[in-house]
Symmetry: C2
Subunit: 596 residues, 2 copies
């Protein structure tokens, strides 16, 4: 089927269902960051493969909405004779709908693919202009998507307490007590990560996110109804792993379970920002009382226990060995003939191969950003979206990558010289690194949110009239998503206090369009600090151990204490990583970690 | 009348009006920071004279609610046999009411003395438990308050454009355009500061706040109805000053004006956080459509125009001369016989006398905090609340003071040695000063709020396990309130972006109970910075020019750049202040500003 035919078939359904518009978001029913191939409805309809976006189909027009990252890509991938292109933020989808349709129009949407918050806001916005938001029972895309990929049935993993550090029962009881105290009968969980954390299970449903896609109901007695594909658990003893009060049912049993709760008039809590509208509508129609609140798993999941922290340390050591071997190899490769035989793709492959040498490596934690010269100025660059750039023509190379290990998740960015960096590149690299060090050296009392610390990482750039247009740090899971909340270090960031066990990235950068890009990223875990002062304060314990490229450092832009920090850091890298290296790699590390 | 009699008379009124409770807040009908003596209802009823608090009278009990600053004072001032003491934040007034009264109870309040926001929240909270919030027509306190002070009739001042920098008409037209664009017919203004700013008037109704207490209606055509005591404007030509479309009426004409707006079905905007509930209830009952929004005067008032900035610079120079002369005198006085003849009161008086020598000095901008030794550990200490402490027994002295000048408002804190400070005091002073310098040296792009910068001033203390329990910086008016919004530098601070012309204080501190207190405060004005970077950034231009006490600095706790900043600062103090000093004062300044 061509995209024109697909569009026509959806339009045909619209007519049948008396709809004037139908909205196709990128999200699936879990509303998480990643979706599996069978949920790529936006791609099926429009050809757009980005990780965020939406489309709207009207009787005679259609439009694709993407954010700033994808304005070029959408033009390559979508047929302009079928779809207008719009900026998701600047020309929001609902504004487009309102500008195209008149009072009385019916706007269809699939309530499984939108959050409850979106639904409430959209309904109000459309109603104010006399339009009706209509939940469809059958998604027109699904009806016409022939040869749709089947969901992959990869076996689940029951994560032993040796890795998780806490039995599922203890986790469930702790949250169930909170539910009971709040007079809540059950908590609906709809995102994969909190459910996998709660039950100490993992999966391989989606690349990079080692989780079983699922829904769950956590009851106030600590019992859990898990809704997931049972075939993934074949041969696994979930009862022995979790206890008798965790039961497994297929996805299609969820509606019945929600209806039963509703029939009992239960008070059911859910997070309107992450739970799909469908589930809360089913609950409400059946008579449940809905309580909107943050997902209570998110905060305990974010605060890693000592076993998870120890696992993360171990994962980072082994990840550091792989990255050091890669950087040592890269430096050697540059000295050998024909460096231009390597490109961004072969570099990324080499790094992956080195990581994969370790038995506990499962998969990358996200799609590697391997970017030479001007490509590094695009924060979300991927070498597969065009022709990978060849080594040999640029001064600096940025590689942002990570691994999923059974005991932790890693995420590291290094920017290294692959040619002759000029003074300005070295100045800007040093300002970025200085910001990284200032944040890494921070201490702060209980109650401090990432929003309050973000400026530390930016101030050296701000002083000189520079900035970077992304957050400074995101939360990182434990053998789970490389992006997690609620902690976040960002100008628009979270006021959720940073506290013991939270893992965050520290990744200031600088990007000069069509020229180069710089980012310095380590992961850090929040720990109590030891002072002789009046009050307890926290500090960041560094997890990532890979040298920062001395060739890019201009110490004129550093204070004595930054140089001291770097020398200490490099001495520790040597101490931790050198026992795992040999030969030329070891020689490289010795050079790379000598004092400034 | 004793307080017991006063309480009994209020209870008598409660019975007559069939009320089970009556709430007496500290606020007056303008809900500003300061209230005049005739509005001290809380003091009349309870004897408590603090600047914030409330009381609630029940049939058989009564309670006074104060915050952490006043827990000692309230015990001195209020008769425990009449009033229970409660913590305003930890045991909120409405929770007390709910714990004492049953369903169906009627809780009286004077709608002129509470904000609309408070009213909405309180009504909801009480209604949820079946209690009724009843606005009283006649405040029982007012009915029984015999010998109540008359409002003082100090003449108003028409502030010439030489000081204000912008004609009232230009200010009014700019905001009126915004109102018209938002389809608003009129803006109700209820706080003294924005009205005085808008009309370029000033007054002497309240000590330290040079404003005419008033209400105003700003219409979408730029015309203003001002409601204030006409006697204050006798002999002044308000029409010549403001234009024919600014009219003056007495306070009691406001109700009629609001009713007329309501009868026309006008859309009237007001700030529910600062406008009293009475005005919006009158409007609603008369048929007006109320639009809740921030007071549109606040932001333009906060962004001083170049004339106001220049005026502030001049006011600070002259204020700096007075403070330098005071500190020089203090050092000499300590060398003379019997320093114990001076106490916190005589020191404050001396400083005021030196300020008052200048013709443009009007009054203090707030009540001077003159605190020796352990008294300085109380952030809101006032020497009049007990016996002023005598010079000669303590190591350090903290003086926080400011002046109202026709061309600007000042606020400065210096902490100085008056004995033998020990190493720990010097360490902590230096950490506070280091934080002050780090904030003063900040640069930041458009969109940065004070909340993002606050940690800069605290980080040196946080590093060593210390903190201070107040905001780092507040906005400061131009010959208006020494505390103004919306800008604020604080952990719970404002995300309103800091921008050109905003004046803020920079005042980190450290307080050790029963021992000593430290604070270093300058005022700073936000200005565009000059860089060769990619983006425009702002920086702080310093306004305050008085040396920091070199005897309290331990440079081991400073980096090279802090010492450079201090030496530059002191060189500039010398350059700006020395031409105004002579004799021993000049010698003192030379010593006080020599390089570290």
């Amino acid at each position: 089927m061509t995209h024109a035919q697909r569009l026509a078939s959806v339009r045909h359904d619209l007519q049948q269902q008396q709809l004037d518009a139908f909205i196709v978001p990128h999200d699936d029913e879990h509303l998480g960051e990643y979706i599996p191939p069978y949920a790529e409805r936006l791609d099926w309809l429009t050809g757009f493969t980005g990780s965020a976006g939406a489309a709207v189909v009207l009787a005679r027009k259609a439009a694709v909405f993407v954010d700033g990252r994808y304005t070029v890509q959408v033009r390559h991938q979508c047929d302009a004779s079928l779809f207008e292109y719009r900026h998701l933020i600047e020309q929001p989808l609902l504004d487009y709908v309102l500008s195209e349709l008149n009072t009385g129009a019916r706007v269809g949407f699939d309530p499984r693919l939108h959050s409850r918050s979106w639904f409430d806001a959209a309904q109000q916005k459309l109603a104010a202009r006399g339009l009706q938001l209509v939940p469809v029972k059958h998604n027109p895309v699904d009806r016409h998507w022939h040869n749709r990929p089947e969901p992959t049935i990869n076996p689940a993993l029951l994560l032993s307490q040796e890795y998780s550090g806490q039995h599922s029962e203890a986790k469930r009881n702790r949250i169930a007590e909170q539910l009971a105290a709040g007079n809540i009968d059950a908590q609906l969980l709809t995102q994969a990560e909190p459910i996998n954390w709660l039950l100490n299970i993992r999966g391989r449903d989606i690349p990079c996110l080692p989780a079983v896609l699922s829904f769950a109901l956590l009851h106030k007695d600590g019992s859990v109804q898990l809704f997931a594909e049972p075939a993934k658990f074949e041969g696994l003893d979930l009862t022995a792993h979790c206890g008798h009060n965790v039961t497994l049912a297929p996805f299609n049993a969820l509606e019945q379970a929600l209806t039963e709760l509703g029939n009992k008039g239960a008070r059911v809590q859910l997070d309107p920002a992450t739970a799909n509208a469908w589930s809360s509508l089913v609950l409400e129609q059946a008579g449940a009382k809905i309580v909107f609140a943050d997902d209570p798993c998110m905060l305990p999941k974010a605060c890693k226990n000592p076993v998870e922290v120890q696992g993360s340390r171990a994962a980072h050591l082994r990840d550091g060995v792989a990255v050091c071997r890669f950087l040592a190899w890269l430096d050697r490769r540059l000295e050998q003939p024909a460096p231009e035989r390597e490109d961004e793709g072969t570099l990324a492959d080499k790094l992956l191969a080195l990581r994969a040498e370790h038995a506990d490596f499962v998969e990358p934690s996200f799609s590697t950003i391997s970017a030479l010269g001007p490509n590094a100025a695009m924060c979300h660059y991927h070498h597969d979206n065009g022709t990978p750039r060849k080594l040999g023509q640029d001064a600096i190379y940025l590689v942002d990558s990570g691994g999923q290990y059974l005991d932790g998740t890693t995420d590291i960015t290094r920017t290294v010289a692959v040619g002759e960096p000029d003074d300005e590149m070295r100045k800007l690299f040093t300002l970025v690194l200085r910001g990284h060090i200032d944040l890494a050296s921070a201490r702060f009392p209980a109650g401090t949110g990432g929003l309050q610390l973000d400026a530390l990482a930016r101030m050296p750039l701000w002083q000189q009239g520079y900035n970077f247009d992304h957050g400074t740090g995101h939360g990182v899971g434990h053998y789970l998503s490389v992006h997690e909340g609620p902690q976040r270090i960002s100008p628009k960031g979270s006021t959720v206090p940073l506290t013991t066990g939270m893992i965050v990235s520290n990744e200031p950068g600088y990007y000069r369009e069509n020229a180069f890009g710089i980012r310095c990223e380590n992961l850090e875990v929040v720990q109590p600090a030891d002072t002789s002062g009046d009050i307890p304060v926290f500090e960041f314990e560094n997890l990532t151990w890979v040298p920062f490229d001395r060739r890019l450092i201009d110490s004129n832009w550093l204070d004595a204490r930054h140089i001291e920090w770097l020398n200490d850091y490099h001495a520790t890298v040597w101490e931790k990583i050198s026992p795992q290296l040999e030969g030329e790699d070891l020689t490289w590390l010795e050079q790379a970690t000598r004092p400034l």
